[in-house]
């Protein structure tokens, strides 16, 4: 953060020399830099704008607020106070459900509550963030290679299938089993990512179309698989698979504080993979070729990079990342395969990847934010009666605003400066 703010301050000093003299004091410089449209400021303001619009939606969808609007002109204060109560309560629950609940901290300090309650929100946030980081990376990696991987959902489904099959079909010792199941998840996802990459390289079939279609194929395959003999849980009549063996379940990190703290090794896996992908993109030959192809496939071909084989590799790697994401869900929280085992973690991964500006560590931060919104949204739904769907709206709005820095700049009248946008070769179109 400091790095970026100082960089923009210097940019501004250079660019704005003809307009205003740079402020003398450090505080003045700092404020100026903050109000310049740098990446961090735009992101924060995008979140703010999204929350404001979400607040408007909360207010207008509430029965009592709408009732007060009918006599708005005789007593406007009712309308505003009711809206404020409703919205502030909802967002307070969002915070308590995702970061920390002050009441729980007080109770734990007094001795009347448990530390489990204190750590519960943050545990939930991390639990949701782990697969999101992996699916976000799956999108981001392909994006850097100039491919639009909408098939993250299908790849994550196949990853969950692979991990689950390894988890309850292979009798393996503790430790090895866990690793093997994760590898199976990555392999299934990778194989599923290979298909669109190969089709793109060989026939030119556009990956947006093929990956979307493959999402549905994976979904139907999952639906068929979980009712097969040997896969379906013999004690259940509904469509659910056997549970993954204990030896293939990701260890709960805070299990000693209480059973409700679900945060597991998945988040550790996610952080390690983020670091690995960051290294891959920055330092390895493959990462270099990938970025080159993403920026300009024609120039890369001229320079002797195999564009087709890079596409295949990129999609396979992206599929493997998504597969890992699916695997951490089925091995960490879901335990059994069901039709909706991974929820919408693949589609959310697209937003995470975009919000993280397709950079590995950015993706991790974005995943934490989305995980927090998800965890807080659950509490908001049960305590304030606001549908969880609102979280989806807020997430989409954040990404819209982040993707349109010009819009945020216009709304807040920011000073222009460099914003790292989503610039890759994508604007070429189909």
């Amino acid at each position: 953060m400091t790095e970026q703010t100082t960089a923009t301050a210097e940019d501004l000093a250079a660019a704005g020399a003809d307009q205003l003299p740079p402020p003398k004091t450090f505080a003045g410089r700092y404020l100026r830099a903050m109000w310049t449209a740098n990446t961090v400021t735009v992101t924060v303001l995008a979140v703010l704008l999204a929350l404001i619009i979400g607040g408007i939606l909360i207010a207008i969808s509430d029965e009592s607020v709408r009732a007060s609007f009918s006599y708005f002109f005789s007593r406007p204060s009712d309308f505003f106070s009711l809206s404020w109560d409703k919205v502030s309560d909802a967002y307070a629950q969002l915070f308590r459900g995702s970061v920390v609940d002050p009441a729980a901290v007080q109770a734990a300090a007094n001795g009347s509550g448990t530390w489990e309650r204190v750590f519960f929100p943050i545990s939930e946030t991390l639990t949701y963030a782990a697969p999101l980081a992996l699916t976000g990376l799956a999108f981001a990696l392909a994006f850097r290679g100039g491919l639009f991987n909408i098939g993250v959902q299908g790849q994550a489904i196949m990853g969950a299938v692979g991990a689950a099959l390894a988890g309850f079909l292979l009798p393996l010792p503790v430790g090895i089993h866990l690793v093997v199941a994760l590898v199976f998840g990555a392999a299934f996802g990778g194989a599923y990512g290979f298909v669109p990459g190969f089709l793109k390289a060989r026939t030119g079939a556009h990956e947006v179309i093929t990956t979307i279609m493959l999402n549905y194929v994976a979904l139907f395959f999952l639906g068929w698989l979980i009712i097969q003999k040997g896969i379906q849980d013999p004690e259940r009549s509904d469509a659910i698979s056997k549970p993954v063996d204990d030896s293939a379940q990701l260890t709960h990190l805070l299990g000693f504080l209480g059973p409700s703290l679900r945060v597991n090794l998945g988040i550790v896996v996610a952080v390690l993979v983020v670091a690995a992908v960051a290294w891959l993109l920055r330092r390895s030959t493959f990462g270099f070729e990938l970025r080159a192809v993403g920026l300009n496939p024609e120039a890369s071909r001229t320079a002797g990079i195999g564009v087709g084989s890079t596409y295949v590799l990129v999609m396979t790697a992206a599929g493997a990342l998504a597969g890992l994401g699916g695997a951490t869900i089925v091995m960490g929280t879901a335990v059994s395969l069901t039709g909706a085992v991974i929820g919408s973690v693949g589609f959310d991964g697209l937003l995470v990847g975009l919000l993280g500006r397709a950079k590995p560590w950015g993706v991790l931060l974005a995943a934490l934010l989305f995980g927090a919104l998800q965890a807080g949204g659950n509490r908001m739904q049960s305590f304030s009666g606001i549908s969880l769907e609102l979280v989806g709206v807020i997430q989409a709005l954040i990404v819209i605003f982040v993707a349109a820095p010009a819009l945020v700049k216009t709304v807040f009248r920011l000073r222009p400066a460099k914003v790292s946008g989503l610039g890759t070769g994508m604007s070429k179109g189909w």
């Binding site: 939606l57 969808s61 509430d62 639009f148 909408i150 089709l199 026939t203 030119g204 079939a205 556009h206 947006v208 179309i209 093929t210 979307i212 279609m213 493959l214 999402n215 549905y216 194929v217 139907f220 395959f221 639906g223 068929w224 589609f347 697209l350 937003l351 975009l354 606001i386 549908s387 769907e389 609102l390 979280v391 989806g392 709206v393 807020i394 997430q395 989409a396 709005l397 990404v399 819209i400 993707a403 349109a404 010009a406 819009l407 989503l422 994508m426 604007s427 070429k428 179109g429 189909w430």
Partner: protein, 426 residues
Amino acid sequence: MTASTVDTAQVVVEPVRYWTRQRKVGVGLAAAGVLAAVLFGALATAQKAEFTLAETISGSAIGINGTVGAVVFGALAALAGGAMLVTARRAFGWLLGLGIVAALISFLCWQLSQAPDNLNTIPLGSVAHSSVTLALPLILGALAGVLCERSAVINVAIEGQFLMGAFAAAMFATLAGSVWIGILAAGVGGLIIGLLLAVLAIRFLVDQVVLGVVLNVFALGLTGFLYEQLMAKDQSRFNQPTFVPEWDIPGLSKIPLLGPALFKGNIFLYGAIALVILIHVGLFYTRWGLRTRAVGEHPAAADTVGVKVLALRYRNVLVGGVVAGFGGAYFTLLSTTNFNKNMTSGLGFVALAALIFGRWSPIGSMLAALFFGFCSALAVSLSSINSPIPSGFLNMLPYIATIVAVAGLVGRVRAPAADGTPYIKG
């Protein structure tokens, strides 16, 4: 333009290769035909496979012994493939069509011959009717895509426009007690997403594929949220529209096969046909169409001769939004009569595939949409004859068919040259 110059240059230099794309497809088709004849022939039983032209399974039927049918039509497909090796480029389309249809009939002979005793009939009239009906939203969605992309704005947000249209149609048709108000509202619903797409893509220069994907999530969340907060709490007040009326064209609707498909329709069918014709004529024979295509291929040149590039793009994207919103009303006023979360289940993306498969032309998109509709209808009728193929795999059929079509048969498609690039004057 540069691309075509390079192509001609290559044709001159390059020696004529024997293994052209047509011949490769021919070999593939021949192999598939042989496989069909052997495999389906072996699996089929001697029970008759029957097809009626009517909408019901009663009435006069064309029947054929299952094993014989599977072998004969499989062999026919193989022959069509073999013929491609000889004829090369000539009659490629006809032979391909013949081969695919023959392979399909061979497959159906097997399926029908093993069906239970009185289920061994497929009513082709009903298949035709449901193919067209299932294709309707796809046609409308793809037309919305044609309008946007011909003027160089990529529209991945068709799914979102569908959802908004479906939601608005259900809500306002119920509130007003009239499906026509619902259809108007659906247009407005699609327009809202179209407006966001236009402003953000044209004015704020957001990457259009990214934007489309995000707008879909936005529409999904918004309709889901409003559904939970309003509709789910009081279904009868907000979410109980009626079906749109069915308008049969007297006389014409009695024609076998074509009648149920084209003349036993509703506002969506006739609207879709009218729009296909209107947009086709508009795009290729009017001043607006010429300008739209110019803006899609080379906006700078269009600007030079005085075409208002941005205004034209705004207008086309907005009209496209209305068309897609209208298509969304199909989901709540024709296929069911209530709104559900995420009820379009990705058909907006399929419409996008139809647009690309149809090479950005209204008629091509319509044919692609019909192909997809046919695959879906086939899956439905196969599961109704107790097919041994699990229903999960039958449901995959349309999606896999689209992949095969996009990857194998179309070759490399070429989008409007400026598609997806924002235009900045100066």
